[in-house]
Symmetry: C2
Subunit: 99 residues, 2 copies
Amino acid sequence: MEGTVTFINVLDVDPERQQELIALLKEGTEEVIRHRPGFVSLTLYASADGKRVVNVAEWRSAEDVAATREDPAAQEYAKRTARVATAAASLCSVVGRWG
Amino acid sequence: MEGTVTFINVLDVDPERQQELIALLKEGTEEVIRHRPGFVSLTLYASADGKRVVNVAEWRSAEDVAATREDPAAQEYAKRTARVATAAASLCSVVGRWG
């Protein structure tokens, strides 16, 4: 979608806990994230080597991302995620698209 | 697309060189990557803080990704990228999609 922003969270995880992390991120998306104002789409990727999960979430605006990060229910999921994985999040915009 | 794989490359970069990195990745995609067998789609994201670029490339199969990583023209672009940024790449599959 034109004019949206993308919040990309790269999560490094012990391969033994990758499935637990995926289940937690799915639950957080189902219960909280997809209901938030400005939510557009979310794709969850799991690396084949088990060491990483990448969360690519598209939002209407940077303000919607900021409001979600302040939301207590979203923060609770972020805390639970931090117990399982090391997260490196960035607010991004699309600068090129092919295919 | 069902059954594809996604090659995600997270590139950490000095903010002063983010634009140079984006130009290089665009050139590599235009000149080499999008013409490779099994290429499906590619999206390039730039972080607002200037410190990161994320390359999300969808391919028909893991074999197509492996063949591209062996391709001399692709390797040349990977070498040029390594001079500008620190790359952490993972072969991934989609485990969830909403929206």
